[in-house]
Amino acid sequence: MRRLLLLALVAAAALVVAVIVGPVSLAPGRVLDAALGDAGATATTIVRGIRLPRAVLAALVGAALSLSGASFQALLRNPLAEPYILGVSGGAAVGAVTSIVLGWTAAGGWVLPLAAFAGATAAIAVVLRIAAAGGMGLDTRVLLLAGVVAGAFFNAVIFFLLTFAEAETFRSAVFWMMGGLSGADWDAVVVVAVGLVPAALLLMGLARSLNLLAVGEETALFLGTRVELAKWVVYLTASFLVAAAVSVSGAIGFVGLIVPHAIRLLWGSDHRFLLPASLLLGAAFLPLADTLARTAAAPSEIPVGVITALVGVPVFVLLLVRRPPGPRRGMGRTEGP
């Protein structure tokens, strides 16, 4: 409990840093005034209209990706699983790129996220249809395979579409696919928040089932889990959570893989702790990464996915090699006798 409190404080601090630091330098006092509406119009616009929604959205997206990453890793019994492994981001990208290439995005800012979400939903439906085709319930090995091949197919579709795109269209499509939070506004914040709260409650309520599923489906059954129901709920909840995040921010990589494993390395794999802890660490990590993305090469912006990998991977490797010696937290998969 104390660890979660600590992580919540870290997340809150990250949010404050993300609001204070930016390409336009504002003193912390002015930022506070602007947030309360007591500063000049420019400062108020920068803080209330740009930085605050962007920081909050980064926190929500980071939380959503980390939470779904941790859930997928348990569901698929695969430490390498990440939020996009089942083709959700590929489907979202097909939707987004289609809307860009066909020029629908001119109709309004809401078109692109909506097209992305539609694409993600279609991807979930397709993958599920393939995985459940065997008839004997949801086989997670087939699910993994179906997700990966569907993702490959979506990639091909995207490159096919882009072959015929104008240079400018091509550029905006590629930027969307790299992921970023520059499109942040309060509408996006509301969309992700509305998805995140029930999804987080649902997944955390299934934390024990995830502990058991990570050991084995039969074990989970014999310890009282309604295995098929749990798998469906986890899959659909985590997938739609990813769909919501991807729709507003593109496919930001590494967060959903690294954050849960960092928690595992530090404090173990009990999902009752791992899920809320991943959520909070994700909510701290992405705003900080995005702050770097905005400021490191100002006035241009580095794609935040580049930062999450450039910063996140070394930090993760450090945790991995400096993990305490001895058997307490031996990593890796071990087969039973």
Binding site: G135, T219, F222, G224, R329, G332, R333, T334, G336, P337
Partner: protein
């Protein structure tokens, strides 16, 4: 005589696409406080039968009753408070300590948002002590040896505080000492009132520790009764297709005189050697 803890009659189950049923017209009765062994050659339907009895598979035909109630009417969580299982195949994907692993046995006793209370922690400690793995409680499950893992699995099932403990091949690939530790533990548990259902390839261990045996052959019950009734030379040779002798366990020990199956060398697998051949 009281009604059995677990009773099955006329069970039949065929896997989709299979030519013949994996389990066919099998009856089984597990009396309270007994150790019942299910034995049989590879592919004889042992594991399928146990999956049916534990509600992991639905029988095509037949009826299973646990504590007098139809198995299909039990909710999974209710069932997991009564029946503890040590399954055959498990792998741990993420690092988990032995204590955390054993504490999973308490999940069926908790609601989704309720955390462990003192009685749950006591049950976990008792289970760890019972299986003699308290010293390993802080270790990562992945770092245990095969024998230690199996003891931890039994401890997890005991943490469920079940009326019935079911084990599927609990001693495969264990050395003699760990194997005997598991069987002695089962004997103690039965003496303490737990009912045990054991599936095993190990005919001799089954003969020494089980009160009753069910011998499956091709999905059907070939013999049922006490070890001495089931493990006769004639039956074993017919079912396994290999020449054997059945001799009494030399002792000393509580199971002195239990029938022990000794497979003969030099057989061709199809026929038992004649008396003359044996005497040479």
């Amino acid at each position: 005589m009281t009604s059995p803890l677990l009773a099955a009659s006329g069970l039949r189950f065929r896997y989709p696409g299979a030519a013949r049923p994996a389990v066919d017209e099998v009856d089984l009765s597990v009396p309270e406080g007994a150790l019942v062994g299910v034995i049989g050659p590879n592919g004889s339907g042992k594991s399928t039968l146990v999956r049916l009895l534990l509600g992991a598979l639905e029988p095509d035909r037949g009826e299973i009753r646990l504590l007098g109630r139809r198995l299909s009417s039990w909710r999974r969580r209710e069932l997991a408070r009564r029946v503890g299982v040590v399954p055959q195949n498990e792998s741990v994907t993420f690092p988990v300590s032995v204590r955390e692993f054993v504490a999973m046995g308490r999940y069926p006793h908790l609601g989704p948002w309720r955390t462990e209370g003192p009685e749950d922690r006591d049950a976990v400690e008792r289970a760890l002590a019972r299986c003699d793995v308290e010293d390993l409680a802080g270790r990562a499950f992945a770092t245990l040896s095969g024998g230690e893992r199996q003891l931890a699995r039994v401890a997890r099932a005991l943490a469920q505080e079940p009326d019935l403990l079911a084990l599927d091949e609990p001693t495969v690939s264990l050395d003699v000492r760990h194997e005997m530790e598991i069987y002695e533990l089962l004997r103690e548990l039965v003496a303490g009132g737990t009912t045990v259902l054991l599936v095993t390839h190990n005919l001799n261990a089954a003969a020494r520790y089980a009160d009753r045996l069910l011998l499956l052959h091709g999905g059907r019950a070939r013999a049922e009764g006490t070890p001495a009734e089931v493990l006769t030379r004639e039956t074993v040779e017919e079912v396994y297709g290999w020449p054997v002798r059945v001799v009494p366990h030399p002792g000393p020990g509580p199971d002195e005189g239990a029938p022990q199956v000794v497979a003969l060398a030099g057989g061709d697998g199809g026929h038992a050697p004649s008396e003359g051949e044996r005497d040479r």
